[in-house]
Every structure is written in C-alpha cells, then in structure tokens.
C-alpha cells in the first residue's frame, strides 16, 4: 500500500490509502478516519471514510491546508499500528433476486448495456464463468459482505465481498448510466455491490430488490426512528435469497411496522479472517443465526 495525499480545492484533503481495493486498505482508511475523529483537530468539518481512501473536509480559516496535511500524515503512523479488529454488527438482508421491477427497468435501458441480448444477471453469470444465474446467485449470497463505504446518495452502502480474490465477483458497470433505478435495488459494479437507498440514476448491474428500507427521511419506520440512515461503514451483511411470497410478506410487515432486521453485534478480526476465510465466515453466520 502506498498512501497518497492530495488537496481537493482549499477545503478538502483526499487520502488514497491504496489504488486497488482490499480489506487491508479499507481497515487502514477506517482506522485513520477514527484517529482523525479522536484527535479532534480543530477546523475539521467532515470525516468521510471510503473503500480504500478517505476524505477530510476542513475550514482553512481555522487551520492552514499545510498544517492539516501534516496532522494527517502524523496520524498515519498511529493508524498503521492500530489493531485490526472492529466492533460491528452483522445484518441479514433479504433479497428477491431476479425480481420483476429491476427486470422491467433493465429492459428499458438495454441499449446502454454491454450485452443487450441478456439480462444483467445472465451477463454477470457469464463474465464470472459461473454457468448459470442460479450459480451466480449462490456465489453472491454465499459469503458475507463488508460495508466499506456509505455514500453516493443518502445512506447507500457499498459492499465488498468477504472471499479470497479469485472468487470475488466482478462485473463492469453499464456502458452509460441509466436514468432510473428502482428504490432498494441490489446492484453491482466493479467488485462492489450496493443497495440503492432511493430511486434515481445508476450505473451498476441490477440483480434484485430488498423489501427492507435502509433510508427513511421521515423516520417513521421503527428501526430508522433514531436515525434515518441504517448502514455504517464496517457493518457486515449476509444476503438471504427469498421468494416472491416472502418478499410480499416482508413488504407488508414493513408497512405494518412489524418488520425488524435480523442483526447481532459481533467483533471482527481481520487477522483471524485472513487465516481461514471460509471458517471465519461460518463463525460469523453462527453469530447471526445463533448456532
């Protein structure tokens, strides 16, 4: 990893921990942003962790850009020594893969896609040499995913698959972004999956839809009453494939205020994970499902 610092105008510093994505780069970015938060450097107005980088917004009337840069470089040493464990949550997200709504949408934007003759799922299965859509869904929902960034639009999580690199699913983004994506679409671009928190433009491939709202500006939904955004960087997600009746039931439960996400607190250790990825993922699932 080769950390690179650059100013984004007179109010931001952009720090690229690594050019390529890895859990190690994400952990370093997260621990550096934690260090910035704890150090309470004057003039810092926003601390934004991302996948393999982060950004600090600051007020140059309170701290000069050069001083801000020096403070961040000083913290890099501390962050490198930080232990790579994380107290976080593991959450089950139900997904209706191959749903009618994303299907209708993707058919409307076929001319913007690499392979207009197939669906997004068929294309994803093919470019990952998985043979069939079912195999792709198994690969997508088999292992847990890390929320490595929250952003783009309000509350949208970027998710990074917790498997070794040869098994990581990679799918190019659309050739040209769509102007429409259904709310709560489970999408994928590059090596990242995401959940579109609101309806709008998007360039990721569309695989399915979750009945579980993750952003509620009115804070009416029970589990979003305390705060309107569900996800935080560091959350762990386990997709659960569901069928149409289960989807409809979950939507009805959300509307009736009866839906509660299945989630558990968990401590994640990057070192232990890397020693035995599949074994560690089974342990995480054990925590989630209580076995």
């Amino acid at each position: 990893m080769n950390t690179r610092y650059s100013f984004g105008g007179d109010e931001h510093i952009f720090v690229e921990v690594d050019e390529e994505m890895s859990l190690a780069a994400f952990f370093k970015s997260l621990s550096m942003t934690n260090a910035v938060r704890e150090s309470r450097i004057k003039g810092v107005t926003e601390i934004c962790p991302a996948n393999a980088s982060f950004q600090i917004k600051f007020d140059p009337d309170q701290i000069s850009p050069d001083d801000m840069l020096a403070e961040l470089k000083r913290l890099e040493g501390t962050a490198e020594k930080a232990d790579s464990t994380l107290k976080t949550r593991i959450v089950e997200i139900p997904v209706l893969y191959n749903d009618p709504w994303t299907h209708e949408t993707l058919m409307r934007f076929r001319e913007r896609h690499q392979d207009p003759k197939s669906t997004d799922l068929e294309y994803a299965a093919q470019v990952n040499n998985l043979g069939s859509v079912d195999n792709f869904i198994k690969a997508h929902s088999g292992a847990p995913w890390f929320v490595s960034m929250v952003g783009f639009v309000a509350g949208l999580p970027f998710l990074y698959q917790m498997v070794d690199r040869p098994r990581q699913l990679e799918v190019p983004k659309y050739l040209r972004p769509r102007t429409d994506t259904p709310k709560l679409t489970v999408g994928h671009g590059g090596c990242f999956s995401c959940i579109y928190s609101v309806r709008g433009a998007g360039g990721y491939q569309m695989f399915g839809i979750t009945p579980m709202p993750i952003y509620d500006p009115n804070q009416q939904i029970g589990y979003l009453r305390d705060f309107m955004v569900f996800f935080r960087p560091g959350d762990i997600v386990k997709w659960k494939p569901i069928d149409r009746p289960a989807y409809d039931q979950a939507v009805a439960d959300v509307e009736a205020g009866k839906f509660a996400p299945l989630m558990r607190d968990v401590t994640f250790s990057l070192d232990e994970f890397q020693l035995d990825i599949d074994g560690y993922n089974r342990k995480l699932e054990g925590v989630l499902y209580g076995h």
């Binding site: 109010e11 690594d18 639009v153 590059g190």
Partner: protein
C-alpha cells in the same frame, strides 16, 4: 403569517446555508448554490444571513402574501413585480397582505434568491431547512414547491425599511466567458501532460445537464489517459477508480469527455477519476451559469485559492458593514 405558492416556477426550493456533518452518509451540504446572493438577500430584509429563503431556477414563482412583509430578491437578474409593478433588484421592498409577487423573464444569471423578513419556517432537519430533493429531505416535504403549497414564515428578527439596497460595486456575477479557478489534484496524474494543457486552454460550454447535484460542461477536447493496468475493484474504463469520496467542486470526467463539477447536492462518492477541484471562492458563480454559457477553467495553486478565499471574505465583510444599519 404565511405565503401561498400560486405557481412554482421551474424548480423553486427552500434553502439556507446547508446541512454540514452528514456527507459521510451520502447526505450532502445542500443550501443555496449562490451563498453570497442568499446571504445578501437575508441581510437586506433584516434576517440572519443563514435564514431560509426560496431559490428559484431560471423562472420565478408566483406567490400570494397573507400578511404584510418585507422582501428582497438577489442573484439572477429576474425582475420581481408586486401586483405587476417592477421592483429594484438587490433592494428590499414592501408587499401588503393580499398582494402577489411574480417575476419577469430571466435576463441574466440562473438562480434568484427570494428572502422574506422572518425567513421561511419549514422544520429544521439535521440542523438545516435546506431541501435535498434526491433524498426527499428537508425543505417543504423534501421536494421542490408546487402550486397550492403554503409556507409559514418566522417572526422578523428586526424591522427594516423598504429601499435598503446593496451598491452595484458590491454585487458579484460571472464574467463572459465565466472563469472558474481550479486547483489541479486528486487524480490529475491520470491524464497526459498534453491533455492537462488542453483542459485549461479549451473553452467549454455549460451543458443542459446542470443542476444542484452538478454542472456538466461540453465542447473541449477529450482527455487522454496515462496507460495503466486498472487496479482491482476499479472497473475497466481508464476513467474509473475504486469508488472514492468526491469533494464539493471536484471535477470528474467520465470517459475523459465531459467534465462534471459537483455542487451543493453532490453525490458524495463514486467511481470516476477527478482532475481537480473548483476553489471555494468560485462555487457561487457556478450557481449563476445558464446552459450554453461559455466557461473556462483557470489553473491556480493553493496560494491563489486562499487569496481568492480571503478576497471573498473581505467582500462579504464590506457587504455586512454596508448593510449593518
């Protein structure tokens, strides 16, 4: 006390100085795109500088007042009328209960700021009254105004007279072509030296896709990339990066063709490389650019950016002094 929207204009939203502190969750600053004009409009009617106002894009709304009020309109040149009588811009005027505020066609600029003594009193959400339409957050029901909407007003902080005006020498508008000063950086190293020169040499034009999220520019030559093996996770196009945070004012160039400058409702991150960032002092100007306006990007260093920032602050200081009484 309230106002009633008879016709909303093209896109009129409630805005103040914005909602800092939630960008890490994808919730952008929002607030007036031309913060200078917003502040002045408030000062003219005796409000706090950060009171909520209406931001009207390209076309003014038609508003009925249910009580007497003091109003000022700044920013774009879009003459305000009270029951048909034209009012001076950048100047406070009185409007009586039952009278209608409407607007002539846009003559210059893009966004008018309509301040009313007392401020627009919509609920404060995450510390701000600003509207973030993409997230359906803040403002009036999280959306642009519609005919029939009624908005409450706060009580005036102090009473001010009509006819308070900001001297023309203290107003600010983009030149022709508009010059936007840019600090190169972020992923500047991804483009060739030749492309770097072109980027600043070419004259661009504001594209029709220009809104509160970002302004797109067209007409310059495409950028060429320094060859590299794309890093894992970045995606296959040479303009792709591993999805990262986007600074406000940052200039991304998807595919190397059309630069997009992110503004107050910025998407907080994504997978396109950026060549640099428009400096804070010039962000307000972008909010006053119409589609098809010629624009140039002008290279500055950090010292230049900070000097410009200082100049902006001292201009605001002179405005405050002029409107203090």
């Amino acid at each position: 006390m309230a106002i009633k929207i008879l016709a909303p204009g093209l896109s009129t939203t409630v805005q103040d100085l914005g909602r800092p502190g939630y960008y890490h969750l994808g919730i952008p600053l929002s607030g007036g795109m031309d913060r200078f004009a917003l502040r002045v409009a408030n000062l003219l009617v005796g409000n706090d500088e950060g009171a909520a106002v209406l931001e009207a894009v390209f076309m003014g709304p038609e508003i009925e007042f249910t009580a007497d009020a003091v109003v000022a309109v700044t920013g774009a040149d879009m003459p305000a009328k009270v029951d048909g009588a034209v009012q001076a811009a950048w100047t406070s005027f009185k409007i009586k209960a039952g009278q209608k505020l409407s607007f002539d066609f846009l003559q210059k600029g893009a966004r008018a700021y309509i301040a009313i003594a007392g401020g627009i009193d919509v609920p404060v959400v995450l510390g701000s009254r600003s509207t973030y339409t993409l997230g359906a957050l803040g403002g009036h029901q999280g959306r642009k105004l519609q005919a029939g909407d009624e908005l409450a007003l706060g009580s005036a902080v102090k009473s001010v007279a009509a006819g308070r005006s900001l001297a023309e020498s203290l107003r600010r508008a983009p030149g022709a072509p508009a010059e936007l000063r840019v600090l190169p950086g972020l992923y500047w190293h991804r483009i060739t030296d030749e492309s770097g020169r072109q980027f600043f040499d070419d004259t661009w034009k504001v594209a029709p896709e220009a809104d509160r999220i970002g302004y797109r520019f067209r007409g310059g030559r495409p950028l060429g990339f320094v060859p590299r093996k794309q890093p894992f996770g970045a995606g296959s196009d040479p303009s792709n990066i591993v999805d990262a945070c986007y600074p406000y004012g940052s200039i991304q160039v998807p595919g190397g063709t059309e630069p997009i400058v992110l503004h107050r409702d910025a998407v907080s991150g994504g997978g396109y490389f950026m060549v640099g960032t428009v400096i804070s002092a010039d962000m307000d100007l972008i909010g006053q650019l119409q589609p098809h306006t010629p624009a140039r990007f002008v290279k500055v260093d950090m010292k230049g950016a900070l000097t410009a920032r200082h100049d902006r602050a001292s201009l605001l200081g002179r405005v405050r002094a002029a409107l203090a009484s």
